[in-house]
């Protein structure tokens, strides 16, 4: 069902993305690119003593990639880097494996519907790939391909 993909939360965040801005005093950032569709995503982090005090993003993309980035920034604010890495792994599993739903993903669970649309998995993971690059300080443009 198409409504399993475009759930209300996803539509809401795609139309009104949260934390959608440049973070002037970011101390980590990265840029992501999906060459299949041209979607771009920049993630900005402000990290203090291992805690993500601010997380913002900019970019242009489809509803799935925009909502995913928006919900990611909301979820990550206040988390430690270790927690962010753990979430990243869990989110990836949510989209790519048939395992039963991890119950601690909170709002991010709305993306479970993406699993039924394999062509769209990369849309949902673009922001998270970019996050990983920012956390690990690669500093270059990461691609979903």
């Amino acid at each position: 069902m198409i409504n399993d993909l475009y759930q209300e939360t996803i539509l809401d965040h795609s139309k009104r993305p949260r934390n959608f801005r440049l973070l002037e005093d970011a101390n980590r950032k990265a840029e992501g690119y999906n060459p299949l569709c041209g979607d771009k995503c920049k993630v900005f982090l402000k990290e203090n003593n291992g805690v993500l005090a601010e997380v913002t993003f900019q970019g242009a993309g489809c509803a799935i990639s925009t909502a995913s980035a928006s919900l990611m920034t909301e979820t990550l604010k206040g988390k430690t880097i270790a927690e962010a890495e753990a979430l990243l792994a869990k989110f990836h599993d949510l989209l790519t494996t048939d395992q039963s739903l991890p119950n601690d993903l909170g709002k991010l669970a709305v993306f479970s519907g993406v699993r039924e649309f394999p062509a769209r998995v990369k849309c949902a993971t673009l922001a998270w790939h970019t996050l990983r690059a920012a956390l690990r300080g690669a500093g270059e443009v990461v691609s979903t391909k």
Binding site: K15, G38, G61, C62, A63, A119, R120
Partner: protein, 411 residues
Amino acid sequence: MPTVTSLDVSAIREDFPILAQQVHGKPLVYLDNAATSQKPKCVIEALTHFYLMDNANIHRGVHELSERSTLAYEAARGKVQRFLNAAKEQEIIFVRGATEGINLVAQTYGRTHVSTGDEIVISALEHHSNIVPWQMLCEEKGAVLRVIPINDRGEVEFDQFEKLLNRRTKLVAVSHVSNALGTINAVREIVKTAHGWNVPVLIDGAQAVPHMKVDVRDLDCDFYVFSGHKVFGPTGIGVLYGKEQLLEEMPPWQGGGDMIRSVTFEKTTYNDLPYKFEAGTPDIAGVIGLGAAIDYLDQIGMDAIAAYEHDLLEYGTRALENISGLRSIGTAREKAGVLSFVIDGVHPHDAGTILDREGIAVRTGHHCAQPVMDRFGVSSTTRASLAFYNIKEDIDALVAGIHKVKEVFAA
């Protein structure tokens, strides 16, 4: 002019078994023909027959099967020659597709004729396959790539083209029909003007041959390329047409079997046209399948196909115009086969996914023509592209699908 009813489309649809299926519980509406076309039964049967009965390598065998496969392979060359109205069979070179045909010309004609400071002219409408091979050549030779701009309708600006030509221009390479927008370029006039400067012209016909009659002698183009799979033939096979004199002068591209006359470690002499450019065992079945596709098109008639599709495109254009919040990208006065558009507030990928769930196959993205997208200030579009087996009901389904897209995103 023949009317829509002059094609028996319901009989034609019977010839394409793939169309009679359900996708996500809905009847398939295939509108991705500019990416690849579907294959009629006769093409599928030609491939099957070849592998069931005639499969053997061509040209050197003395046995019966080799004789049969050679005859079938060379017969297909004759069919392509007549299809394009080329003067001679040896002007037809089989390649993997339009992309390979362009690369062949860039690497042979281009490398021998282009040097530092020379210029190659393309248009702003080109597919990446008619941009990148020329960029690579320019990079290697220190030459300059010049681009003819397009107007807001997506039409090449002819006066700008005339201004770009000069004594350093070594080649003009333009598409016959734009894959992203459907614009039909005035290639005959482009050739005539370029020839005024003694500049040869390559035409990328990948998006033209499925929709209209092409006559390379009337166009007077020097090179013409197309892909078999876009003209109802198999994937992996394509055609490079070149004027005999140019092909004769060009060095071979790939070395190997079949392209030689004699080989010693000291010296190799090359084979005659067209074999000089067909090194190695070619896609024999693909060539035979392409021949079957051309037979099929001949039976229906390209003029009847063009007239039918013209009406269908008009119908589609009007239907899309009536949808609020939809903007057509590419509104050239002369168009073939393509309806490219964006919907306010909806990314094309989301539209594509929702349409897919309605059984409608369209393409979303930049269509391998990123400079075209940049020109119109969009990152991508949704593209519905037509073939002669499409019907008004397909357009109606597309319109209903677009309303569904808007409904999902209206929440």
